[in-house]
Amino acid sequence: MNDGAMIRVEGLTKTYQVGDVDVHALRGVDLEVGRGEFIAIVGSSGSGKSTLFNILGGLTPPTEGEVHIDGKNLAHMTNAGRTELRKKTVGFVFQKYNLLPTLTAEDNIRIVKYIGGRDMAFDADFEEVLRLLGISDRLKHKPRALSGGQQQRVAIARAIVNGPAILLADEPTGNLDSQNSAAVLELMRDLNRRRGQTILMITHDMEAAGYADRRVMMKDGRVVSV
């Protein structure tokens, strides 16, 4: 394994049972992502990119193959192991923001610090991130009082608050207008460049993928171009 690789995937397959039918979502994926790299996985609906996202994030186990995230092998990881991975190694940004509606933006971020077993206070470095994201003055508001763009920035802050090795983003601009999309993508690129944050972004939008250092195309459960 390349020492610089944050993600290394070899011969990854995922088969879902839908009724009596086996659905092969991934058919032998090989992929390597370096530390500090910003990579976009692109492909049409059904290409397997979301399944790859779920496996890399430890949300679902692989059927076969090797998956290493920051040196941890997910292939035979238990549920508890995958929970630990999500707690300490991976941060998520989703298309639908997925903030807890009953908590303020600040508490949405703090609860992740609590889950990660971290000190609840925001350090100066993270305060700087909040300023960079432009949400310092919106922290006391609940998600319903925030615009889509602001919610997605809160979601980004939440995803990186514990300093994860990798930030996984699934269609992060899918629910945003073009202006907010550009702002969020700029922020992600900024996080990658300034802080060396490794980012893997799933998108079907080629313009969004243009913000990444590298694009990986998927089709029918396979990587077709790197």
Partner: protein, 372 residues
């Protein structure tokens, strides 16, 4: 866990409950009714028995003689004893007075008691009348204050009992013998029990000798249940009455099941509605323990709120009984049962949250996150 994190989780718990106010209110109300059912039943059982004991003590007697074959706490609805018995008892050492009563059941818990007012007056010190006085004619009746209040009676009112119209001659302070009293000879005649008695009250020269006299009487009168009043009033408790005790347990069981079902439904719905939020917590690394803990805290908060409201409602039922049916039932405030009812509510609600909790913990994170 530090104070801040504790507050954060508690904030999430309260916010989750506040997010669905109607469901939360209904859950709390259902648990409150469960608690009220338990406390009211136990309060009424104890209150009514203690009121009976208070009235028995109000006779001023030291010993109670009941008919052969009857138990200490069976109702005295028949009159199988001869009215010569008090005369015999008066000849026994240390007995200074013996007077018999006849008790006729009316509807439900009501009875009418026939007594010799002169003898009873000497034994108990007499009734303390709030209005009117002792019966002057055959169909005169005296009633205690709670009975008069419930039936809206005053002196001179007509009260129909046993198909006869009785004139209320007096209203006395409660706590003595019975709620409705008439002349003994009249009641014996009307019930076709001439010269028969339901029970005999005995007064001795020294109350400390009551047990000694009871022992002697048992030798003289084999087969008669004879008790000191002290013993008789002590056994008027829920635990002494198997049927009442079992009934109490059945109602507690039903109350628990009601609480269980309501909380089960509420938490099951809550878990369904919050599928996505549970998925979010899982996605950010929330453990099964954290998710189960949040649900359990919500359940416990519902149980505590329901218990507090239930205790409050119990005062409401107490007030209603005191003002609407003061004669029929007496409800005591059972402070000792507050924690028991609270614990029953907690057990029922926590059991109700177990299955929804397990469902939440077992949810697949990816499916939960895609839940609409």
């Amino acid at each position: 866990m530090s104070g801040y994190t504790e507050r954060l989780i508690n904030k999430l718990v309260v916010a989750n409950l506040a997010h669905r106010p109607v469901r939360t209110l209904l859950s709390v109300l259902a648990i409150a009714i469960e608690v009220t059912m338990i406390l009211t039943l136990v309060g009424v059982s104890n209150g009514t028995l203690h009121e009976s004991a208070r009235r028995a003590r109000g006779t001023g007697a030291d010993i109670l003689v009941r008919p052969k074959g009857s138990s200490a706490i069976s109702s005295s609805s028949s009159a199988p004893m001869s009215d010569k018995l008090p005369e015999f008892l008066m000849t026994q050492p240390h007995v200074v007075l013996a007077t018999g009563t006849i008790v006729q059941p009316l509807e439900l818990f009501d009875t009418i008691t026939g007594l010799d007012f002169d003898e009873f007056g000497r034994m108990s010190g007499g009734f303390r009348f709030l209005a009117g006085g002792l019966p002057q004619q055959d169909l005169d009746v005296i009633v205690d204050e709670p009975y008069a209040r419930e039936k809206h009676l005053g002196v001179g009112s007509v009260l129909t009992l046993m198909t006869h119209d009785w004139r209320v001659a007096g209203i006395y302070e409660g706590g003595k013998l019975a709620r409705v009293c008439v002349r003994r000879d009249v009641l014996q005649r009307l019930t076709e029990n001439p010269h028969r008695l339901s029970q005999v009250y005995v007064k001795v020269d020294d109350p400390k000798r009551a047990q000694e006299v009871v022992d002697a009487l048992r030798v003289q009168m084999p087969g008669y249940p004879i008790y000191t009043l002290e013993y008789y009033t002590s056994i008027l408790s829920v635990n002494s009455l198997g049927l009442l005790r079992n009934f109490t347990y059945v109602v507690i069981g039903i109350a628990m099941i009601v609480g269980f079902i309501v909380v089960f439904m509420a938490m099951y719905t809550a878990v369904l509605e919050r599928t996505r939020e549970i998925g979010i917590l899982k996605a950010v690394g929330g453990s099964s323990g954290l998710i189960l803990g949040i649900l359990l805290r919500e359940t416990l908060l519902l149980a505590v709120l329901g218990t507090v409201l239930g205790i409050g409602l119990t005062y409401g039922t107490q007030w209603l009984m005191l003002h609407v049916v003061p004669n029929s039932l007496t409800q005591e405030t059972m402070y000792g049962w507050w924690p028991i009812a609270g614990a029953i509510a907690v057990v029922g609600t926590v059991l109700g949250a177990v299955v929804p909790g397990i469902k939440a913990v077992r949810q697949d994170a990816t499916e939960a996150l895609s839940y609409e």
